[in-house]
């Protein structure tokens, strides 16, 4: 940090000239503002990240009475990518989750936001009601949905028994369909948020643009197609990126409901990393989970990069 030279935006300094006392004072001030935050960020965010990358090339092996760290190169990476079926299953689950979100959550959010934009009766109440689940924590959502789906005293089985379908009652989170129910829980949780984002964009469509479409004799549907969708397209790109990143990092919800079970059917990459890091039977080895973490970070970064390239460039062509 010491070698950084802060200068005032309006002042230039020719090379070699010793800094004036004023400039030196200003450098000191700038450092004073910057240093505390950078120190905090560096210690607790940047360092753990670089350490994750570093550790992913090592293994902790028993040696004599204790243990020693041994360089294994890309060994953990090849093991994760070629031998670890749970890791692959977790990557598939996380991707399915993102696909579900794009296919279900975003269209749903668009429909809900649109009905608020055309001011259906009671829209203020609807807006609050639909947004409300967003305020709850993933842990709370997890526990709540566990209660909804539990065999005895759950809301779902209770409803089934009430309408005479008690025979269908089941332990839903223990079934092969568990992942689907977790999808439904995240949809319940997050659609309100996507709806609010969409509504913010829709409110920016000038009323006269909507009116003009009506005067031109366009039907409501054509109005949607020709006026609203072009406005929504950049938003759609943003929403896809947001849902993608959100579903790549799912942890809490799965951890408090199924912990990846039954038999890894609901495992996400992050639950598997934490499981292997802290709760794995056997020796403590942070190298392997670190390698999985690095792989996943690269997948996320690549995904976001590709998505923003594809989605944004498509905009340029179609406009």
């Amino acid at each position: 940090m010491r070698h950084e030279i802060p200068t005032s935006p309006k002042r230039n300094r020719s090379r070699g000239e010793p800094p004036s006392p004023q400039l030196r004072r200003e450098r000191l001030t700038a450092t004073g503002f910057l240093l505390p935050g950078l120190l905090l960020f560096g210690l607790f965010v940047v360092y753990p990240l670089t350490d994750t990358i570093y550790q992913s090339f090592f293994s902790i092996v028993p040696a004599g009475a204790g243990a020693e760290r041994r360089f294994v190169g890309l060994g953990h990476y090849t093991e994760a990518l070629t031998e670890d079926k749970v890791f692959w299953g977790a990557m598939v689950n996380s991707s399915l989750w993102a696909l579900w979100s794009v296919a279900v959550d975003i269209p749903l959010a668009f429909l809900l936001a649109w009905s608020l934009r055309i001011r259906v009766p009671g829209w203020r109440f609807y807006r609050t009601a639909w947004f409300a689940p967003m305020l709850l924590s993933p842990v709370l959502i997890g526990l709540l949905w566990r209660y909804i789906l539990r065999y005895e005293g759950g809301l779902l089985n209770g409803t089934l028994r009430l309408v005479g379908l008690g025979g269908w009652a089941s332990d839903w989170l223990g079934s092969p369909w568990a992942l689907f129910w977790l999808f439904l829980a995240t949809t319940w949780h997050t659609v309100g948020y996507y709806m609010v984002l969409t509504l913010t964009a829709l409110e920016e469509i000038p009323q006269d643009l909507l009116d003009a479409a009506v005067v031109d004799g366009a039907s409501r549907r054509q109005q949607i197609w020709h006026v609203v969708l072009p406005v929504l397209r950049p938003l759609l790109a943003t929403l896809i990126i947001i849902t993608f990143t959100a579903k790549m990092r799912v942890f809490d919800l799965v951890w408090v409901t199924t912990r990846g079970g039954p038999y890894g059917k609901t495992e996400t990459v992050i639950t598997w990393v934490v499981q292997r890091g802290f709760y794995y039977v056997g020796q403590f080895d942070m190298g392997y989970p670190s390698a999985m973490a690095v792989i996943w970070l690269m997948v996320m970064a690549l995904g976001i990069f590709l998505l923003s390239r594809v989605l944004r460039s498509k905009d340029l062509i179609e406009y």
Binding site: E4, I5, T7, S8, E26, T29, A30, G32, F33, L34, G37, L38, F41, L43, F44, V45, V46, Y47, P48, L49, D51, T52, Q55, L108, L111, L112, V120, Y126, A129, A132, L135, V139, L140, L143, L144, Y147, L155, T159, L162, Y193, T200, A201, R220, L235, T238, T245, M248, R249, F251, D252, W255, I270, V273, F278, P289, S290, A293, L297, M300, A301
Partner: protein, 271 residues
Amino acid sequence: MRLGRIFLHMFLIAYTIYALGPLVWLALSSLKPTFQIIADPFGLPAVLSFKNYQTLSVSRFWVYYRNSILISAGGLLGILIFATTTAYALSRFRFPGREWIRSAIFAAILLPPALVVLPLFLQMQTYGLVNSQLGLMLVYAAFAMPVSVYILRDFIAHIPWELGDAARVDGANEWQVFLRIILPISRPAITSVLLLQFVHFWNEFVLALVLIRSDNLRTLPVGLTLLNTEYTMNYGAMSAALVLSAAPMLLIFSIFSERFIRGMSVGALKG
């Protein structure tokens, strides 16, 4: 056309039942004894009883609750100190590596804390900050930096330069300009950031799970999962616990709903 409208309304009502049903059911369950929750999931409480809430008063629930308030407050204080100064430095001063630092901070928005929690845990151990509430506050503030600095820097960069100049002419130094002029003007952005991060802190799970080891220091999200094991069969008490832990969020939302929604969208849409 008419038919379409009717379908739309039916759909909206159905979605509202989906969105609110679980919450209403939870609130009702918290007022019913467990046997009635099982026998009659939709019924109103036979007698209005707060017995479930009384059960919680003798449990560790309120210890977790107090810890969550304490740690959230500490984290927010950390943001006030660290994020505002960093945001100001990034918008006011020019220095080599500024763009680099800025991109590094903003890129970290995408970093899930759970992926780096292992080395973080070991590092905290060497500082003696494992199982420390101060440690957790610092970590929360650190992981809140990217989004907070992003929103604050954006706001501060749009404050006209001249506003500080009058004070500078009067001999005020940069810190005085920052404290007396920049911070008061930035209050809307600061409020949005604090609201947003309060929700994150109150709800945060994985860092609290790993970094706090003793039970009397734990926060609410982790505490809820422990209570859930303890009260496995007491559905009523757990419903009450969930209702109470959601209460602060619902309260804040009802007071600040507009600002809240705006705060949640600003970070996302500018991206």
